[in-house]
């Protein structure tokens, strides 16, 4: 995160230095860094922390990656932060939204990321694996299940909120 900030201030610095031409550099500095991955249509939030991220018709029993952004204020900066989740319907038709952040050291896990384990999430960094439920496969580096997002459904719209520890953690 602070790399991003450093660059901003570096550019701001340049901006001040380069009176006249600096305006180009300042244009849209921060926002594009984090907003690019996201469909802007999906940004309205109905209630405080819950963000509309997808239409239910996009969700099947196969985990799908959903990306969105949230606004975050932390001390010095207000910024848009990219978020991602793996979302699917379980056997009971309940929506499960798992955090893609590996519980070992934080890389992104991918559904079916490893050919020899087609029904698992796979972490490319140190071969961590998780079952579809998000529970970690024993004897791989992660020692806890993936976090889950708070889920709310309103009509046909899926809202996701904060992450919390997995129900089986």
């Amino acid at each position: 995160m602070s790399e991003k900030r450093n660059q901003v201030s570096r550019r701001q610095f340049l901006n001040y230095t380069l009176t006249g031409v600096g305006g180009f550099m300042a244009a849209g500095m921060l926002a594009p860094m984090v907003r690019f991955a996201i469909d802007p249509v999906l940004k309205t939030s109905a209630q405080s922390d819950m963000v509309a991220v997808a239409d239910l018709s996009e969700i099947s029993d196969e985990p799908t990656r959903i990306d969105w952004t949230i606004d975050q204020v932390d001390g010095w900066y207000e910024s848009e932060v990219p978020k991602s989740a793996w979302v699917y319907k379980d056997e009971n038709d309940d929506i499960i939204a798992l955090s893609p952040v590996c519980k070992h050291l934080g890389c992104f896990v991918n559904w079916q990321g490893d050919e020899s384990h087609p029904d698992q999430f796979y972490c490319p960094c140190h071969d961590g694996r998780y079952y579809k439920s998000g529970v970690n496969v024993p004897n791989t580096p992660p020692e806890e299940p993936l976090d889950e997002f708070e889920v709310r459904i309103d009509g046909q719209t899926l809202y996701l909120g904060q992450t919390k520890p997995h129900r089986e953690a």
């Binding site: 790399e3 180009f24 907003r35 690019f36 050291l105 490319p124």
Partner: protein, 154 residues
């Protein structure tokens, strides 16, 4: 991992350090000359930051993203190669296994053989609107290609 307080506190744990074996150094040319390439350079600088940050986000537990290495676009590449190789040597003793340079500047392809790390060069748009859906889509595609490429080095 990024070069900041919070990440480094996690990084210095001995159990963590051994897992972070890849150093990513973005290379960004700078020139203040007010010519037709000025805006392009600034645009590409923004893109390079986006790519660096996004790759780090996906590979946080294995990849260390260095602050961006800047050089004058007119600089003698031989001198830069010498300097960068010092960086690589320092990284390899401390104890990274892979050093990757991320850049949009095709000049690095010409001196790639002399560099002791891998050059991840990718072509990009020359300019554009980083907010447009089209640009975002292209950036997303390129990032997924880059993540696949990086995995082949592991």
């Amino acid at each position: 991992m990024q070069w900041n307080n919070k990440d480094l506190e996690q990084y210095i744990d001995e159990k963590v350090i051994e897992y972070v074996d890849t150093l990513l150094i973005p290379l960004m040319p700078i020139s203040l000359k007010n010519d037709k390439n000025l805006i392009k350079r600034a645009f590409q600088a923004e893109l390079l930051s986006i790519f660096g940050n996004e790759l780090e986000r996906q590979f946080k537990g294995r990849m260390f993203l260095m602050p961006i290495y800047h050089y004058l676009s007119t600089a003698d590449k031989q001198l830069e190669v010498t300097r960068l190789n010092e960086w690589v040597e320092d990284a390899l003793t401390n104890p990274f296994k892979h050093v990757l340079f991320l850049t949009l500047d095709s000049d690095w392809k010409k001196v790639e053989a002399q560099l002791q790390g891998e050059v991840l060069w990718f072509p990009s748009m020359q300019s554009g609107d980083l907010q447009s859906d089209e640009t975002k889509g292209m950036v997303k595609d390129q990032i997924s290609q880059l993540t696949d490429l990086i995995k082949t080095y592991w």
